[in-house]
């Protein structure tokens, strides 16, 4: 049973466009939702995160939206750049020190 589902698996956008990645989850006890960015050959790095008490968090070109009722979250990247090309993972957890459950990842390619 997949606890966190992520779509699409892969995505290509043109430079300057808007990227939208989505995730859904099942465990209603999840209350922390980070997005990680991973470049080939590197470890995942935290990009942005949101707690379940919020519905939106913005950091520069990156915004994450959270819908508790629908158990969904999304990551929007505006003015997408070739340097944003990476794999993006959503994740969820419910307690400090608890495991993060990851989605399957979205491989993003931004074409110049």
């Amino acid at each position: 049973q997949q606890q966190v589902r992520q779509s699409p698996q892969s995505l290509t956008v043109w430079e300057g466009g808007t990227t939208v990645l989505t995730c859904s989850y099942e465990d209603s006890t999840f209350n922390y939702f980070p997005w990680y960015q991973q470049f080939p050959g590197e470890g995942p790095a935290l990009l942005i995160s949101i707690l379940s008490v919020s519905d939106k968090k913005e950091d520069g070109r990156f915004t994450t939206f959270f819908n508790k009722r629908e158990k969904k979250l999304s990551l929007h990247i505006i003015d997408s750049q070739p340097g944003d090309s990476a794999t993006y993972f959503c994740a969820a957890s419910n307690n400090a020190g608890a495991k993060l459950t990851f989605g399957g990842g979205t491989r993003l390619t931004v074409r110049p």
């Binding site: 209350n31 922390y32 980070p34 990680y36 991973q38 080939p40 050959g41 590197e42 470890g43 995942p44 790095a45 935290l46 995160s49 707690l51 794999t87 993972f89 994740a91 957890s93 307690n95 400090a96 020190g97 608890a98 495991k99 993060l100 459950t101 990851f102 989605g103 399957g104 990842g105 491989r107």
Partner: protein
């Protein structure tokens, strides 16, 4: 930002041998984790560790796996004996004990079992 160091970065080992993967977590972090990733796919949770004890482990954490952090040194993942299906990149992570459970990951240790 905070750095998690992993040693070795890659290792090739014969099936049946033992391997130890080492992790130097962020200095003031108290929770430690191992994740397994095959071919750039999903990050799969293996185990988390706090105060000298395993907190939770997944079904991927087979009996041949063990973790420890003796005397605040490296947090290690030992696989004995290794199997072909253990070939993967293993990521160590660490975090502070507060809400907003930010995990900081290392660069990974690529293990190839032949």
């Amino acid at each position: 930002g905070p750095k998690v160091l992993q040693i070795p970065s890659h290792q090739i080992i014969d099936m049946g041998q033992m391997v130890t993967l080492n992790c130097d977590p962020v200095s003031n972090h108290l929770y430690f984790y191992w994740y397994k990733q095959i071919l750039g796919q999903q990050m799969e949770f293996l185990v988390n560790f706090y105060n000298g004890k395993v907190m939770e482990k997944s079904k991927l954490f087979k009996d041949q796996f063990s973790v420890e952090r003796p005397d605040g040194s490296y947090f290690t993942l030992k696989i004995q004996p290794t199997a072909l299906e253990d070939s993967a990149v293993y990521f160590c992570a660490s975090s502070l004990p507060n809400s907003g459970n930010t995990l900081y990951f290392g660069e990974g240790s690529r293990l190839i079992v032949v």
